[in-house]
Amino acid sequence: MQRTLLLMSIPFLLYRLLFSYVPLIGWAIAFQDFRPRIGVTPLQSLRTNEFIGLDNFRVLLDTDTVLGARFVQSIINTFGQALLTQIVGFICAIVLSLMLNEVRQNGIKKVIQNILYLPHFLSWVIVASLASVALALPASGGIINEFLLWTRIISEPIHFLANPSYFWGIVAGTHLWRNLGWNTIIYLAAMTAVDPSLYEAASIDGASRYRKMWHITLSSIKPTIVILMIMNVGWLLTSGFEIQWFLGHGVNIPRSENIDIFIFRYGIQMGNFGLATASGILRTGISITLLSIVNFIAGRLGSEKLF
């Protein structure tokens, strides 16, 4: 009996080890002086390279050099983009969930929900494409500029992509557009689990709609909110790739280049595997540290823990 079960699982165990654990050997590159050479595969090179200790990490974190400054800026950008995306996304998703929760006609609610979930299924390439159109000048169909001009909020069109200071907002905005509806699913599910008698009791005590939202709905879904917040901390050094890749031009690179783009440029495009791998390790290290700290604090405060 065990034999069949083994036959049904061992091949896939080996598969997972090969694709998720064997590549960890490649982390050795971060400690090597890696130079791409013609006719030498990276694997052969991995075996013969000279070990240089932590030099790659030193180079990356030395902000006096152009490279170091660029790397540190890419971490700041990733963190800023991700934090803004998460804060905006979080608040909007909760507010939208409350709004949807107040819709009483189930048919209309379903239709609205289906429309709101839709963008989540579009690929990031399509989202980036739509964003590039929406952010363009009015003459090229830039609907955002057109709207702002029409409502007299601005008197001249804004070059969103030519000004670095807009870029974090663009990242947050595109993520919001794509994932807003989708993120409400989990909150709405938590809201349907709230005991209806609480609302009735509150009504009899004369609580207004907003007090009920705040004291009953929101406080009932608090555990869900906390656990999602903790989980999201693990993603604070991930802010996507496509938006930065397609919309990040020369002008806005100081604000658009995130770690993923940095790793891609230095690793794949310039062939500096050592630096790129070291960047990746730094990112993983920081992410896991952040997650552990927050998880620890959450545990101390007596709220939900992730692990």
Binding site: F19, P23, W27, L122, W124, I126, V133, I185
Partner: protein, 312 residues
């Protein structure tokens, strides 16, 4: 008693009755605006894709084409590259989904058996992969060393089992009463037969959800193509071709991809179509298959997300 209470509330609430009307009106207006914001960009591309190329460059098209034509779609499907990329996307999606479903559910069944000795160990090996990723470069070296570069196999081999899906299916299987398995065993069925003929049919709702997610992920993927198969035009998938058109339009010097994209756009630039309308048409072609299956599978994925949320 209840009647009298209701009556009391009504009389007491009368002066407040305006509030719900105002609230719901504002709520519906805001939700309607939000729906428009979500739909407009795609409707706009849809209109442009059905519009004459030269006319579209003038701008000002909203959600209705000004000079309607089917020319853009004709060009997209008549261009060998694009049509091939469409087929390649379909092909990779089908292969990935079928293998994913069969393998993930089989492994989930094995890991749900309490008597299996390596159950804990294998589960941990898979769950850990949710928390770390070796990174771009080590993965790149692995794929290159395995000889998967410039081949179709790079589209499905690295994406066979996702730990998250595995846990969801395992949780579902655990909820199936043990008596199903016991009676099958008494009838002389081995573990594989139990999985294939008893467990798999019972898992249909969950498998449908997982299949949707895997299909969407596979259809939308472009980075593996970009990284490993950029040199093989015949292996291009639709999202990658769209990416090249986009790179050409936004002027990204994406590793020389910009130039390639421009060439692609120029190659398509027959009279009466423009890169703008072609890009819109490809966007629609890349989005429509998913939007078509979406309404049918919608009830499954909401269920799936809730399941994952509870266990994740």
């Amino acid at each position: 008693m209840i009647k009298s209470l209701e009556g009391k509330q009504k009389t007491r609430k009368k002066p407040l009755r305006l509030e719900p009307i105002i609230f719901h009106t504002i709520n519906y207006i805001l939700l309607a605006v939000l729906c428009i914001v979500m739909l407009y960009p795609m409707l706009n591309q849809l209109a442009i894709s059905f519009n004459d190329g030269l006319d579209a460059v003038r701008g000002g098209i909203r959600i209705f084409p000004r000079v309607p034509t089917l020319e853009n779609y004709r060009v997209v499907f008549a261009t060998h590259t694009m049509f091939n990329a469409f087929l390649m996307s379909v092909y990779r999606t089908i292969v990935t989904v079928v293998l994913n479903i069969v393998i993930t559910s089989m492994l989930a069944y094995v890991l749900s058996r309490p008597e299996f000795v390596f159950r804990k160990f294998i589960t941990i090996v898979f769950v850990l992969t949710m928390y770390f990723d070796p990174g771009l470069i080590p993965n790149f070296i692995l794929i290159q060393s395995l000889g998967l570069m410039n081949s179709f196999h790079v589209y499905w081999i690295p994406n066979l089992i996702a730990a998250f899906n595995l846990i969801i299916i395992r949780t579902y299987i655990r909820g199936i009463p043990e008596s199903f398995i016991e009676s099958a065993r008494l009838d002389g069925a081995g573990d594989f037969r139990i999985y294939w003929q008893v467990i798999m049919p019972l898992c249909k709702p969950t498998l449908a959800t997982i299949a949707l997610f895997v299909a969407v992920g596979s259809w939308n993927a472009w980075f593996d193509n970009f990284l490993f198969n950029a040199a093989r035009q015949d292996l291009s998938v639709l999202q990658f071709e769209l990416m090249r058109l986009l790179a050409a339009a936004t002027g990204v010097g994406a590793a020389g991809q910009g130039q390639a994209g421009q060439a692609a756009a120029a190659g398509l630039g027959v009279a009466q179509v423009s890169p703008l309308t072609i890009r819109a048409a490809v966007t629609i072609v890349a989005a429509v298959p998913i939007l078509c299956v979406y309404p049918f599978l919608q009830r499954y994925f909401v269920h799936g997300v809730q399941l994952g949320g509870v266990k994740g």
